[in-house]
């Protein structure tokens, strides 16, 4: 018996059918819902940052009242020696530890992906530890280790600590990238008499580069932001920016912290097009 096709009906194969009009409506509503959700998502993400920047121009010291527009805090920031020192320490630690961790992490990733060796599972396990272990546990362990070997706490100890946890993150990211590239190209290169060194730099490394950059950026952010581990392994004179800001909590945070955060944001905003440009260059090659 023929049944008229209505908006939603069962066809003979049991699939539900929707009229074009109904389908369009559903698509549109879904589209609006998703856009709305995305907008809310971005709002929650960026509204606090926007407020942070906004209140760096606030005349009042307290971020809860807007009393007028002023550059005072930026001026104060430039005269704030302690904050400047903290920022300088942060940048030294972050750049150095990122560089070292990226190199080691990449080597670990390549080694793990390419070679099999007896201790491989054990190494894999240890690699995951810094990620799983709570920061505070790692911080205390590092501090105790440093004092056991009699190492003086300072920027050096912070860098070592940061490298320690960053290697894992870089290794995992690069390894993921490594697993996704085609091993045949490397094979082909070896077939054409390239030795391992040449093969790596000419064939594998360019393919890995996006992953390495991603790993490096991740390590950079983790290192710059780090509070708990840095606090415990820092020594006199080696306060980093997060530690300094956190220490201000008791006596009140001034908009100088807003100002320095806004400047950091500006710096990273300028960095992003730069890295994109580099990546694009790499791709066309």
């Amino acid at each position: 018996m023929a049944t008229p096709l209505t908006d939603v009906a069962q066809t003979k194969t049991g699939l539900s059918y929707q009229s074009p009009a109904r389908h369009g409506l559903v698509t549109r509503v879904t589209g609006i819902l998703f856009s709305g959700y995305a907008l809310l998502f971005y709002f929650f993400l960026y509204a606090p940052i926007f407020l942070l920047i906004l209140f760096s121009f606030n005349e009042s010291r307290f971020p809860t009242n807007w009393t007028g527009f002023s550059f005072d805090w930026y001026i104060k920031l430039f005269g704030n020696y302690a904050m400047g020192q903290a920022l300088k320490n942060s940048l030294i630690v972050t750049f150095t530890s990122t560089a070292i961790a990226t190199v080691i992490g990449t080597m670990v990733a390549v080694g793990m992906e390419r070679f099999g060796f007896r201790a491989k599972t054990a190494v894999e396990g240890t690699l995951f530890m810094p990620i799983i272990i709570p920061d505070i546990a790692m911080a205390i362990m590092l501090l105790v280790s440093f004092s056991l070997v009699g190492m003086q706490l300072g920027l050096g100890s912070i860098i070592i600590a940061h490298v320690a946890f960053n290697i894992s993150f870089v290794a995992i990211i690069v390894r993921a990238r490594m697993a996704s590239i085609n091993p045949d190209l490397a094979e082909a290169a070896r077939d054409l008499y390239a030795n391992e060194w040449r093969e790596f730099w000419r064939v594998t490394f360019p393919q890995l580069l996006p992953g390495i950059i991603a790993g490096a950026l991740f390590a950079f952010v983790l290192s710059f932001d780090d509070y708990v581990i840095t606090f415990f392994v820092s020594g006199p004179g080696s306060t980093t920016l997060p530690v300094r800001i956190y220490g201000m909590v008791r006596r009140g945070i001034t908009p100088e912290t807003n100002a320095v955060s806004s400047l950091m944001l500006l710096a990273s905003l300028l960095l992003v097009p730069l890295t994109l440009w580099f990546q694009r260059k790499g791709e066309t090659n």
Binding site: A82, I159, P236, R251
Partner: protein, 366 residues
Amino acid sequence: MNRLGKLGIVLLVALFAVGCASTSDGDTADDGAGDSDAQQILNLYNWSEYVDPDLLVAFEEETGIKVVEDTFGSNEDLLGKLQGGATGYDVIVPSDYMVDIMIQEGLLAKMDHSLLTTLGDLDPAWTDPPFDPGMEHCMPYFWGTTGIGFSWADWDEAPDSWANIFDPELAAEFDGQISFLDDMRETIGAALIYLGYSLNSVNEAELQEAKDVILAVKPFLSSFDSDNFEDTLLTEETKLVMGWSGDVFTAQLENEDIDFVIPSEGAAKWMDNLCIPADAGADPVRNANAHLFLDFMNRPDIAAQNTNWVWFGSPNKSAESMINPDILSYPAIYPPPEVFEKLEWFVNVGEATELYSRIWTEISTE
């Protein structure tokens, strides 16, 4: 080992060497001991904004010792670092109860009174605290009280009784606009004082009573807040806060209506101290420098200048003539004798800490 591995190792070692070399340039702290040609350095580990920076410069000009200041945010952070084995700090600034703990842990060096010339300038009320009898270890630095922060916009007379926040009838007037300290000893202690007991009671029945008092007014609280109570006063999110004197005064800078009162039933007094960590005390040069600093900070003119900058109460009697009269006449910082008598120290309750902890958990979770 293949070439890749070998080259990798060389690279690694090279980078590490570079890293270590560059960090010793970035490291401004040298302990300076035995290094008579290089500038001597004193590492101060202090609360944020708790010393007039001009004074650190003045100290350097007078003694040639440069002061490098780092900051921490809580006593527990300080303790954690020292317990973990951090060395290099020459002067630290723990609070009363933390001094007690640190002495027991052996983390503090003894203060050599023979190296100090300004001890006589201290007010005798502060020279024999229970956590450091006879000032064997630490030099009193600043003191303050816990009390009630409020705004004159809401009151004709200062709300100088704990009843304003512990009596449900009175608290109900400010429903949702009251905050207590998120601190087990402080809040339970305040309730104990309100009930007429000692701040340091270890009597379970009294503690249960205190707990009941707090739970009775808990519905009227907006939060337990130790960090932002002065901010919430400014935004009028709260009208009555249990808080520390110094923090409320910071808010007062923004809004003159905001004030602090020490309740007439009594309150907790606290003291921050300049102390010398054990490792600094063991080194003769660092020890000598630290004592110089302690002595310097306790000089009446220096203490006065510091007080005028920090706006907390100074334990230095001789400094009073040079302290800003606004501070001296302010009962919230320098209370009159009859209120001063009622102030109590926090004393380490030892094994009863577990009892306090349990009661606090019950308060927090109910």
